[in-house]
Symmetry: C2
Subunit: 342 residues, 2 copies
Amino acid sequence: MSTEKNRRIVLASRPNGEPLADNFRMEEAGIPSAGDGEVLLRTLYLSLDPYMRGRMNAGPSYAPPVEIGQVMEGATVSQVVESKADALRAGDLVLGYCGWQEYAVAPAKGIRKLDPGLKPVSAALGVLGMPGLTAYTGLLNIGQPKAGETVVVAAAAGAVGSVVGQIAKIKGCRAVGVAGGREKCDFVRGELGFDTCVDHRSPTFVGDLQAACPSGIDVYFENVGGAVAEAVVPLLNPFARIPVCGLIAHYNATGLPEGPNRVPILMAAILIKRLTFRGFIVSDFASQQGDFIRDMSAWMRDGRMNYREDIVEGLENAVPAFQGLLRGRNFGKLVVRVAGAE
Amino acid sequence: MSTEKNRRIVLASRPNGEPLADNFRMEEAGIPSAGDGEVLLRTLYLSLDPYMRGRMNAGPSYAPPVEIGQVMEGATVSQVVESKADALRAGDLVLGYCGWQEYAVAPAKGIRKLDPGLKPVSAALGVLGMPGLTAYTGLLNIGQPKAGETVVVAAAAGAVGSVVGQIAKIKGCRAVGVAGGREKCDFVRGELGFDTCVDHRSPTFVGDLQAACPSGIDVYFENVGGAVAEAVVPLLNPFARIPVCGLIAHYNATGLPEGPNRVPILMAAILIKRLTFRGFIVSDFASQQGDFIRDMSAWMRDGRMNYREDIVEGLENAVPAFQGLLRGRNFGKLVVRVAGAE
């Protein structure tokens, strides 16, 4: 072990708008001990995801907030240090939900053991993990893409969006990404194989999107909201489906945007074009985990599913990395390497 | 025949906001003749419905607009005056789509003959017609009400809303209406048998609606938009379904409402509560006509489906009646008696 202490990042105060460094606090605590049926886990990789911004707010959402003074939540790839449960042994690699810290104790029951042959093991936090399952279940259950249709994916270079577009291609659709900046757009087209990708930072974005979708849009996978969504709505075809997965453009907002109130435009589009907007959370489709792993593993073997990871070194860099994520600065699935071993 | 001429109301100009008398023109034309396979129909009843406001606008919608100088469209209960088709005979009562006029020629093919025992025959334009089918298909296919759930119905005293709430009751739900004014609310509770009805004109509307839905809202049947919808969204339960059938509060709008832009509130609710908003038009579910007639006829026989008609005398009164419809002045299904015979 690299230290006798457990370093951890707790929520120091609730942000008003963008999270500031002050909203977090690095602490040191003792390393906890596993009780009966529990394991002591050491964090190898911590996943950073946009949903964590929501957990920093008070008030009701689909999950309870992180309380002030509590360790920030998050999925981890962890290694068993000590086991007091039959199902797991020291050295096992597991998918944990240990949060922003170096060590955690967890009940062994319900912990998923990872295939030690998985390379890189951090893929369990991305393409083969929650973001991949989010993409898979949202697109297939709600988006219901049919061959020949046009699927537009917001945040196309991100952990979820990159998978959505590639599944759309596998299903025979035209995949159009939306991403911020030329470098990300090149990646989405070149490495991920989308048909095209439109830069939402360009002053010609609205026209570029329209040109990229000559047959309109049948599925819009919503990760961002804001101006991207506003440009998409007029291009939606009758009976289009909109899985609402995230709204990262809104997460740091401290108030509503200036008027006019555009709700009537959105509602008229829903009515006249018979659109389906449906929000979802990955846990709604937890029962499809088996299908997901089977399909995704096959697509990766066949070279039909590419991905990129944005690996940040050291727990002490988690906060700036998370701040950058909310500004779209990451490139690929953002993970923090907390301990060096693999 | 009461006249040798065919009186008809055409679209004289497109309205900007509320339709004015000037936007319509009453004309007299010759009575047309039926060709081979056609019938000459005389209008007994003309249905007036909110969707007609949309047809007065230029530009794309789910149906082409009425052109300037064209007869206003609309469903009718008509009587065959002359038939040059085998399937229909003079005297037959049919469901036509003859528009705002006294006579029309139509191909016999596809015209639905009405049961001459149907009393009143105008019910074919309401509870047993398009509005009834709209309520039935939208609620059952999209709303998917389950026993014990709370169903909120906007425009609950109207042709569609009144049926929605009664079907919700039949399915074992709590039916909460929203209507304008005490008289309509009394009707919705008393004659239609909703559990309760909230007056959206009351200054305490928002609180009244909340009090009427102690377990939240599982299905919101959207007919109106505007302030009613804004009061509903915070009360929606996780996984609520919102069939979007109409937006009458918006139809006469000449611009967007003042800000702030409330789209982020709506989208956040969709995401966090995993809502399904789905627009529909009755023709999307035309294949369910048989089921509808079977179920609705049975419910009417059993006394479980009540309705009220608001009958206006004479084609010359169609325009003010339609203007009143858009202001919520009608009470029950609005129909114009064009010719006296039945």
